[in-house]
Symmetry: D2
Subunit: 315 residues, 4 copies
């Protein structure tokens, strides 16, 4: 099966990986390896690196490639999607082609926040697809809360139909449940070919997104193992169990989903779980106050009553 | 106690009231009375009418005054805050002064979404305070997700210090926990006088907002009785009970907090609870699909296991 | 000829009228009469009142109607378009229908600055057209620099084709020459019925807009008599003369077109010309510094060498 | 004199250089040399490369450095400022330090369009200054029309006072005349140290900017020789001559200043003048229609009556 075909039919959980840094701001390659092992053991079916959460804009060109390369190595045959969003097509192309040469399964492209009209959005993706090359499978990132670009279902269909190399939607519109239903409706009425839909938005609506037709999750919640379980339970038809597990995590998941500070919470929890060595971020960054750390501890303690994975050694 | 003093020291829950319409789009005054009685019985300590959730921009001048008047009548001595946000100061002044003459306790003012710099924001509130009159207590609405205006704690302090008639903050920044801590810190260090802080954002962080120093909630969740209980439990020091109750509601509360469609969910649930006769909205509006209605029913059924108030007669 | 037909085939200059205030901020009705007389003598073929330049958002409902009424009275059978842009449809409808009852020829509607997608824009105008009533001719205001809403030619065509009561475009996209060509091309290829196109943007490209197919101008430059002359010269085929006159005014016209402060310049020049009694604006407003006043005097003096109308008595 | 001191006291014209491409999209280094020679002969006192106009975001990292290097070589001891605006600090630092090593005089930094509050803006420049290194002189680019970031004079002062390596403002606020006066006022009252102010905005207000205290121009108008003359005439106190020359160019200059299509006009005129071999741009790009080309020819022909430099061989 080709990369394109694999991604187009992808299901499960592709976590958005953070980029681990050491306290001095340098890239922590050992933590990349540890984190990758954890993702694979948790049942993740792929991974996306160099996303917003991965602090991609804070790396220079050489560092970006080094991070992508290490994850690709660690994941072996499990697909790695590389975020190649850039201010221009030349830099996008360079990173995309170098990543594919290293073994990436595809790339993810977010729209610049200046796009407004339907034509601008469709035109941008056509140019981007051409820039990276028709042989490179790509993922649309639809995240209006961060990128301020609003794509209707019809525009997404237009991108899918115009560009054979479009294989997946990272869905994080908000609200977005009806968008999933609309896109799956397009597939049923034959007006759009099938693509994989993996959902972001911190997982805040994952419980219902699967029921609406999404194939799984692509987000950075610090318990990707829970995301895997919820998606699996839904697949098995165990709806109440899926919601029960999801609801137990919702207070923490909601806390993590705060814009800006969310990444600090995630890196902190991942460090608490032993998945990365340091919660350091590069500037610009939002730090956790002691009040916020205490709130996270309280949420973890409450969660531990329902999910033993949250029972961490107290600080 | 004057209106200004009452609002400045307000605590508890001031729900944001929806404006009930009949199916033909006319205002449903009988439901205003029924809803008001429910709010008062639930322990709400005040109310805010003609907010965004109240579909204020969809009323003409005469209708706005009629809605405010009816709520004021129904609430008696319990404070009613009237949203007077308008594209210009003349219309703002007219509605503010007419509402106060009818017995309103104060007015709420949101910033126009074109404001950017600190000076523009502070200047706007100074002009607005002068426009409505120095004798009219006013509430700052700080809701960047909807209004795109970002107010730092220092700018809010400047508004409070520059305008004696500023008595309250409707806090709905996101993320916003640190903002509450910062403002209470300003009070402790003597650089800002005390104002009431009531939190919006659909209540999504109410569990921790009270702990950070907020006085309560000002939001439109369809179970304001739960909001009252959580605020009361926190005041009584029953932290775990407060979180327990809040967490049980979080899946529905989160579902309601979706921009756009959230109002449809709320009116639907309020109609299901028998609080309003119709869930009709005026255009522009987002309607609930049958899938969404089924999701709400599922959430209500799950909630009913923890909170009997959610045990509604099946549709 | 009906109002709708008159506007649909309108040509010439419809100035955007300022709302004259006395120094105390009250409406200066005597200046409305004086200004109206000047517009009519200058050859204006219609007028638009209660636009952005007309400080419409700074009037309350009763004042808006009073201003519209006075202009309508003064203009007699010459068409008056009333700006009815409002945060909601109820207020829009009220002002529209009251204005039409007083004798307005039509209304102008600008989009709220939250609209993004093509569907949102087309949907908004469909709802607005229904709100004001199918019998009320309306003008689309397409001004992305101020309203942040980007309408492609295809979206404008969709609005025109979907709404028989759409009769005119106030064109002030920037850059916008190709948009005029595209719309006229739609008319030629039969995909869009004819509407009038009058150009705003302070007149900054009027010299070429007429050549591209626009029917004239709708803007507030303080020498509307020059706008009338340029449009007339272009109609007469005297291209070089049209550009010569336009170029002589361009330094001042460009100076007036500055966002924010532009209105202060215009009211100042109109007062200098004796057209209004005071240059007062209502808050929020940008005032002219003495440096700016001196710059305007210098521009007027330079202009007077080419156009005697600018030879004003020195201050 | 150090680089920092040279830029801090810079006056005259620093054109924003386009990046010349061949028709196949590759960089045209020969045209860089030709263009550089022209700039130097025209009296330009410096140059800025890799700005927005220079299509900087369309180059990858290696290409950016190659372009900067070639201009630096061609300019010799005349200062070259390199635009290093980037989505993150790592890429910014890399380009800044490599450029300085090649002989650049300083760097220019534009703010990301997500910045809103005064603190965010000041904080961003503090982090950027630290990222590129305290030894690298930098220029603030203040261009709200494109970047949507509004910097008050007080915020600019704060950046200047907080960062000793800040040496210049590329001023292109709109309207912006009062901003120049305010900043020069800060210098006079001792609250801000002196920096150079060079004005952009296509030169649309250059006639008055010099009179308000600006040191010259930094913009990409296709007749930089005219910009040099206007600045020189103003310095010599020949005000009427300066305005006369400026006014003759204003119709074309205004035409060039259209967002998006402006670059196409400039490259076309520069090609017509023989300064670059091709007017090719990289995607995304706006092309000139034949109607637009004819309009430019007409403007050039009219201009040639006043300025012989515009008398180009007809196409």
């Amino acid at each position: 099966m080709t990369h394109a075909s694999a991604l187009q039919h992808a299901a499960g959980v592709y976590p958005i990986a953070p980029t681990p840094f050491l306290d001095d701001g340098s890239i922590d390659f050992a933590s990349i390896d540890r984190l990758s092992g954890f993702y694979l053991r948790s049942g993740c079916t792929g991974i996306t690196v160099l996303g917003q959460l991965g602090e991609a804009p804070k790396l220079d060109a050489a560092e970006s490639l080094a991070v992508a390369s290490r994850f690709i190595q660690a994941f072996g045959k499990t697909p790695v999607i590389v975020g190649v969003t850039a201010p221009g097509f030349a830099a996008m192309r360079t990173l995309a082609r170098e990543s594919m040469a290293l073994g990436a399964a595809g790339v993810m492209i977010a729209p610049p926040n200046t796009l407004r009209t339907d034509d601008q959005i469709a035109g941008y993706y056509a140019q981007a697809a051409q820039a990276v090359g028709a042989d490179v499978p790509f993922v649309i990132q639809d995240y209006p809360l961060t990128f301020s670009v609003q794509m209707t279902p019809a525009v997404i269909r237009r991108i899918v139909q115009d560009n054979p190399s479009c294989v997946m939607l990272k869905h994080e519109d908000w609200p977005g449940l009806e968008k999933i239903s609309a896109l799956r409706g397009f597939e049923r009425d034959g007006s759009m070919r099938h693509i994989s839909i993996l959902c972001g938005n911190g997982g805040l609506f994952l419980d219902f997104e699967c029921e609406r037709g999404a194939d799984g999750a692509m987000t950075g919640y610090a318990f990707p193992d829970m995301l895997c379980d919820v998606v699996r339970l839904q697949r098995e038809g165990r709806r109440d169990d899926a919601h029960g597990l999801f609801d137990a995590h919702l207070p923490l998941l909601r806390y993590e989903q705060q814009p800006g500070v969310g990444l600090a919470v995630r890196k902190h929890v991942m460090q608490r779980r032993g998945l990365i060595a340091s919660s350091a971020q590069r500037a610009p960054k939002a730090a956790l106050t002691s009040a916020a750390r205490a709130e996270v501890e309280y949420l973890l303690a409450r969660l531990a009553r329902h999910d033993a994975r949250a029972a961490l050694t107290p600080l």
